[in-house]
Symmetry: C2
Subunit: 318 residues, 2 copies
């Protein structure tokens, strides 16, 4: 049986191999994704994001165990764009695996890259597709930090959980404001520490300030108020409540037009991202040898500004 | 006198107006940048990055004051992609301004956006150019967080300072690994807190693990070992040492081929970023009305995969 056939029949080695090929983004990747695509669209994608030190990984593991207890399969994509050495992600996998080891209903993939902006978001989206096609009912995408790349990855999720902690101080709480807009649920993790109520209250107050959610695009509030859930992931406290909150949001999305609109917006953004990459690759092959280097040199010497240099490249191509 | 003329003659209102136009990225922006570009290339660009809560802003202010004490002019670009409401950046400006108010040798601009991935990096690069053209001798770019967007912005700098603190715990220190590669200097801020020596030691040990810097591209270590400097920004402690370290790195870059190579690489990346944006904009105008929506719908229904959809768009365009 071919790779896709084996993957669809539940072969875990075929799954791992496919993910590696997709991550490498070589010639085979597009063909594979094309074959897998008709089998996608069943998984519910859950994004879990928050600053370093909030205990996201522990929370994701606890959540995965809870889902497994309910008989559901879970794929986990742990994205860490800040991990410097390729070994880091692998080590992370192994530490995580200890907890969920030997359970074929769970698959964990850690991703780290030093590649260009957008490259990681692209690869993560493709890996999510592969796990979706492989039949995982819930795919959890864990992203570190609060940068824009993380926000883009979270945008690929149906339900976004923002994790905060009491201990990180007011300065950090203020920063969290940036993820207020993308959070469908908030988890105040390490809630046994001092300040948990304060953190929950701060989120609650910021919700009052934030623009209203309007996924329907009809100018009215959507009606979903992101719940704020206190968790202690290390003891499993609140994890069940978080899971039920996620499922409630899923049900909410599937009522009315919300889900279809989110999906169409995601598809549009995905097409544009692929287009940009392809267009640049195509142009590069048409630019005469040495032309790019000559323009870089001129811009470097301040004889030409960057926008005029690009205009020259585009004019020559028209 | 026209806007560019007034900006070049030191008019601060013309500078603020130009920055706003450049940020908006409208029709005037490219013309303005083209006119300003020949006047750029004199400023030394300093990137200061680190996780939330490390006291970067205080450190940047202290550094700016130190530079002013030495008679040098300083432009500051504070990039906070996580700030949710446009008012946040303005408020930030005002708080900062209290410290450095009324000094025409300092100009501070805070930037926040909810725009697409890469949009903020693009705008920040353009604002840096404007400050460079306006004659600021040092331009400090402060970025929040450890995400890829921040790393890209830092790449636009000649000298990158990574700020860490003792108090954020081992988990956070591990995350910092991601910025090891981009740091030309490390500041252990809040060094009067417990654990400062531990943090400095951790950085020192990771330096031993990291791939050698090879900006010359000749396969050998470049010889620059990033210094680790303890600072207490609130008291000004270590700020002078940090400044001297930055200047030492600047001198180092201007020896040999380092500086030109960094600059050419930066120009190439900048051209590619502009190209990608322009190519997508141009393609959009050529796609027949409704075609994009139809493809999104097909992909959404899983009748077509994203890569095949893009191939259709490109084939129709060829």
């Amino acid at each position: 049986m071919d790779l896709v056939g084996r993957l669809l029949s539940g072969d875990r080695r075929a799954l791992a191999r496919t993910i590696s090929l997709v991550e490498d983004n070589g010639a085979e990747a597009h063909t594979l994704l094309g074959e897998l695509y008709p089998h996608t669209g069943q998984a519910h994608i859950i994004g879990i994001t928050g600053a370093p030190g909030t205990g996201k990984s522990t929370l994701v593991n606890a959540l995965a165990k809870d889902y497994r207890g309910r008989g559901m399969t879970v794929g986990i994509v742990a994205v860490d764009p800040t991990s410097p050495f390729s070994g880091g992600a692998l080590l992370g996998d192994r530490i995580r695996m200890r907890d969920l080891a030997g359970d074929p209903g769970v698959f964990i993939r850690s991703m780290a890259t030093r590649g260009s902006l957008g490259g990681l978001a692209r690869a993560a989206a493709d890996v999510i597709l592969v796990l979706d096609a492989a039949g995982f009912q819930r795919v959890v995408v864990e992203t570190v930090g609060v940068g824009q790349a993380e926000v883009e990855i979270a945008n690929a999720a149906h339900t976004v959980v923002v994790v905060v902690t009491p201990g990180l101080g007011d300065e950090v709480q203020a920063i969290k404001a940036g993820v207020m807009e993308i959070g469908d649920l908030f988890a105040v993790n390490k809630a046994d520490q001092e300040g948990a109520d304060h953190a929950a209250m701060a989120i609650h107050m910021m919700q009052g300030l934030a623009p209203k959610d309007d996924a329907q695009g009809d100018g009215t509030d959507d009606g979903w108020v992101p719940p704020i859930i206190k968790t202690v992931a290390t003891h499993g406290t609140g994890v069940d409540e978080l899971l039920l909150g996620i499922e409630a949001h899923r049900d909410y999305l599937h009522q009315g037009k919300h889900f279809g609109q989110r999906e169409r917006m995601r598809v549009l953004k995905e097409l544009e991202a692929i287009l940009q990459r392809e267009l640049l690759t195509r142009l590069r092959t048409r630019v005469p040898p040495g032309k790019m280097e000559a323009l870089v040199e001129q811009v470097h010497r301040r004889e030409l500004d960057p926008y005029s240099a690009v205009a020259q490249l585009l004019a020559a191509d028209a």
